[in-house]
């Protein structure tokens, strides 16, 4: 049984249709990522699920619980790191955690949380002196203090440097190993691909597609891009291009100087033939690569739009 079920959520502000019918369900223990460009409606969707904003229409069920009848129970079950990651700047991480712990009947120990989010060394510095990454980790710590079953993280890595982002990925991985359900939003595709069990791509308030990252990529056309560059100058490259065009699986080619790009339905077969050809001709290849398909391609394929971070 899904731990969270969302059905046809809609929310408008006058002419702005922020969310126009979003539905999905989340299974216990999964990392479920909502990804989409800025203004796609990710935050709005989360805020409706978190009970902050009433949807115009649609339903939200936490198992047997719903906001109308079980607000307090749901609040005890969920932990939230909002996009603004609001906290008390004049208090220390430890004091923030202690304060939030007092809101719940049962809470994890502050020391334990500080350990998990790697802030033990900074526990007595005022929050206003923390770096962006440390702040964000504390925000996640605050979401975890009540030991909730479901954790919502709204763009936890936006604006952080690569190291700080990796730290947050580690925390999310830990959450998964603790069997917590994590609902994450991001606009970094690689992050979604790396962390999520399932990804829900949204654009303009609608679900574009929803599946595991590998399924999503697999579902894309079988056409793959292969790149080769020739050491023996342009003639060799031209020769290679002419040869590739004769192969059945190759759809089209593109050449720029000594580097050749080709699109093929069967990269293994194409490469095998190409290598035979270069061996025969004694051409040396400098670089060979098959471009990996990513969620970015999935987004482009479904929306016809360029993806921008």
């Amino acid at each position: 049984m899904p731990i969270l079920e969302v059905n046809q959520l809609q929310k408008s502000f006058g002419d702005i249709h922020a969310v126009q019918g979003i539905s999905f369900s989340v299974e216990p223990g999964e990392v479920f990522t909502i990804i989409g460009p800025n203004g796609a409606g990710k935050t709005m969707t989360l805020e409706m699920i978190e009970g902050l904003v009433a949807p115009d229409t649609g339903e939200i069920h936490f198992g047997e619980l719903n906001w109308k009848q079980h607000a307090i129970e749901i609040k005890k079950k969920i932990g939230v790191q909002p996009q603004s990651s609001a906290m008390f700047d004049l208090l220390t991480p430890k004091e923030n955690l202690d304060l939030f712990a007092s809101f719940y009947d049962k809470a994890r120990s502050t020391a334990e949380i500080l350990e998990i989010v790697n802030l033990t060394d900074h526990q007595n510095n005022q929050v206003k002196k923390l770096s962006g990454g440390q702040r964000q980790r504390l925000a996640i710590g605050l979401a975890m203090i009540s030991d909730p079953e479901i954790i919502f993280l709204d763009e936890p890595t936006t604006g952080l440097d690569p190291q700080a982002r990796r730290n947050i990925w580690e925390i999310i991985t830990q959450l998964k190993s603790l069997n917590k359900t994590t609902i994450l939003t991001t606009h970094y595709m690689e992050e979604a691909e790396k962390l999520s069990d399932r990804v829900c791509i949204v654009d303009q308030g609608r679900v574009v597609t929803l599946d595991s990252p590998s399924n999503l990529i697999e579902k894309l056309t079988k056409e793959r891009e292969v790149r080769l560059s020739f050491q023996d100058g342009e003639t060799a490259a031209l020769d290679g291009e002419l040869f590739s065009n004769q192969l059945e699986s190759v759809i089209r080619t593109e050449r720029e100087g000594t580097s050749l790009k080709l699109w093929t339905l069967n990269p293994e077969d194409t490469l095998l033939n190409l290598f035979k050809f270069t061996k025969e001709k004694d051409y040396l290849l400098e670089q060979v690569s098959i471009r990996e398909m990513s969620l970015e391609d999935v987004f482009i394929a479904y929306t016809g739009k360029e993806w921008r971070d």
Binding site: L52, S84, A86, F88, L90, F100, A101, F103
Partner: protein, 372 residues
């Protein structure tokens, strides 16, 4: 009530207040600076008696005028310029040049019943001119009594205007005024935190938890009262030790007026916060109101010294009653059963309740209109 939660909330509030340097600056340091400045300017020459120069025109001495002249000569606060009466032209000249604060023209015959007081328009509201006018009034009153054959049963005391005593009064007056001002500003400016918390999304963050928001509001209120108590104690100590103020406190009255006053001004701040989108907007409103009140509520000078047309404004401002109430309870030891104290309490309460209701209504409306 969840005591553990309240305790955590209260200590969090307390810590934040102690770490907020602004709170200390505006709540304690700033009133002390203001108090020092005003004491230096208006309370400094404590040994010198208050004196002002006047001119007396005494062109045709007669019985009445002689009587008044000798009286005027004896009064210490008015000093005759050049020591003798002068001509009317000369007197008018001095008044025009502001070399004397007023000229008194004594009656020209026994039948004449009027004494003229010539003042410079620009000086009309100045302390010295007012003092001369008041003194003259008293003398004339006494003379009138003498003429109808009545002897005054008590001697009119001019000493009350003399410097030594009034200086003492002024430091008490100023100290209690400053305490009232500091507490009122604490309330009116302090609620900027609420705007800030909203802007940062902290209110929203707390609403995502099962935290009891009324408890959070209560803890905030209690913390503010604690801070105001610290203000009263520190400012009183400084006033008494540094500026020689004399306090005679009725604690029951003080407690009541303090609680009502502090709560009302916090309600006022709450009201400001309900319609301010940014902290800057909030500070603008709070600044204007506190500025107006600071000068119209008898903090630095008695309201009676203000122009007549402005005085009605003072009688509706809450700070007027808070300052008066604090003076009554801290300087005059007025008992809790005094009716004037309760009039002030009533008006303060009215302000507080209106501000609170209006603020709550605006907050409710806002949360219906926009959910963000």
């Amino acid at each position: 009530m969840n005591l553990k939660q309240f305790k955590q909330m209260f200590f969090a509030q307390l810590r934040m207040t102690f770490r907020e340097k602004q709170a200390w600056f505006w709540g304690i340091f700033y009133p002390v600076i203001l108090m020092s400045i005003f004491m230096l300017i208006f309370g400094s020459d404590s040994n010198e008696e208050f004196q002002t120069q006047v001119a007396i025109v005494h062109e045709q001495p007669n019985q009445t005028s002689e009587l008044l002249f000798t009286q005027l000569e004896q009064i210490q606060i008015v000093e005759l310029k050049t020591g003798k009466p002068v001509s009317r032209e000369q007197a008018e000249e001095w008044v025009k040049e502001q070399e004397v604060s007023a000229a008194i023209v004594l009656p020209e015959s026994g039948e004449s019943t009027s004494v003229e007081l010539i003042m410079n328009k620009e000086d009309e509201q100045s302390t010295s001119t007012q003092a001369v006018s008041a003194t003259l009034d008293k003398i004339l009153h006494q003379a009138n009594l003498a003429i109808v054959g009545a002897t005054p049963t008590y001697e009119i005391e001019y000493v009350s205007v003399s410097a030594g005593e009034s200086n003492l009064d002024y430091s008490d007056f100023l100290l209690t005024g400053m305490i009232a001002l500091a507490i009122s500003q604490g309330g009116m400016f302090g609620m900027v935190d609420l705007v800030d918390m909203q802007r940062k999304g902290l209110i929203k963050r707390l609403r995502m938890t099962p935290a009891n928001m009324s408890l959070f509001g209560l803890s905030d209120m209690v913390m503010r009262l604690v801070f105001s108590i610290i203000q009263i104690i520190l400012l009183s100590l400084i006033g008494v030790l540094l500026f020689g103020a004399n306090l005679y406190i009725n604690f029951a009255s003080l407690l009541v007026i303090f609680l009502i006053g502090a709560l009302s001004f916090n309600a006022l701040g709450y009201f400001f916060s309900s319609f301010s989108k940014t902290t800057e907007a909030y500070m603008g409103v709070a600044n204007i109101l506190s500025f107006i009140m600071m000068f119209l509520s008898g903090i630095f000078f008695p309201i009676e010294m203000m122009p007549d047309w402005l005085q009605p404004v003072s009688t509706i401002l809450p700070l007027t009653y808070f300052a008066e109430g604090l003076r009554d309870s801290m300087v005059y030891e007025v008992s809790i059963f005094s009716s004037s104290l309760w009039l002030g309490i009533g008006i303060l309460t009215l302000w507080g309740i209106c501000a609170y209701l209006l603020g709550s209504w605006l907050y409710k409306r806002k949360s219906l209109v926009s959910v963000r």
